[in-house]
Symmetry: C2
Subunit: 114 residues, 2 copies
DNA sequence: GGATTATACCTCGATATTCTAGGTATTGCA
DNA sequence: TGCAATACCTAGAATATCGAGGTATAATCC
């Protein structure tokens, strides 16, 4: 009974999280997110690109173009120091939010898996 | 460094979660949510009441009025069987969503607390 | 007694976030 | 040649939540 594909609610946090490990280009992030979340969510292009542009304007990421082996141009994004700080803040907020929800739901579900 | 009060993103799930344990009235839910989440979030009245009315219309909750010891009228909500099913579905969706986010963020934060 | 605070309910319009649905262009494959 | 996958983008719609107001009663303080 796999969960349905869910919409996102912390899109920018997830983008920052991805970029913490390595530089990525947009399309790659969409594929990676679906893979890493075990197909739980699927970021839409209409969500991702505006977020990337916003993060770039804030100075949280920096973009550069690079040619793929195929010859196509890709726009890679790199996490700046400012972006790392932002990620840290948002990740912490996520932690306490998730904690809070779990506290309210405590005992509702039979702890599906380990 | 207590986290800032965060807005909600799963308001109806939290309402259902509260009602799983006992019947409650609106104002009480707001107070309880803040308490149980260790002051992490604070449901706004403008969020809660429309949700309660919606859940009632769906048949997920049933309302009844009851006089408080003070003499004031309170509108209590009771989780129906349908509401329990809804809660279960949403709680499971939450679990996999949270799992997915954690998978992406894995290793970002130094596991603040136990 | 009068004022203020806490309780208790409600709604409307604004804001924020994400999605839908389109668009462009290149590459690879059948 | 034509179609699918890759790769980028945007405008407007839809949804969720909040802010700020309203009403009314009960309790507390001066």
């Amino acid at each position: 009974m796999a969960a349905k594909k869910k919409s996102l609610e912390h899109a920018s946090l997830l983008v920052l999280g991805l970029l913490a490990a390595e530089d990525m280009y947009g399309y790659q992030m969409i594929v990676e997110l679906e893979r890493r979340s075990d197909h739980t969510f699927q970021m839409k292009e209409g969500t991702l690109y505006p977020i990337l542009h916003g993060l770039e304007q804030e100075g949280a990421v920096e973009a550069y173009e690079q040619q793929a082996p195929t010859g196509r141009m890709r726009r890679y994004y790199h996490l700046t120091r400012k972006g790392q700080a932002l990620l840290h803040t948002e990740a912490e907020a996520w932690r306490s939010y998730a904690h809070g929800v779990d506290a309210v739901l405590h005992g509702i579900l039979p702890l599906a898996e380990a």
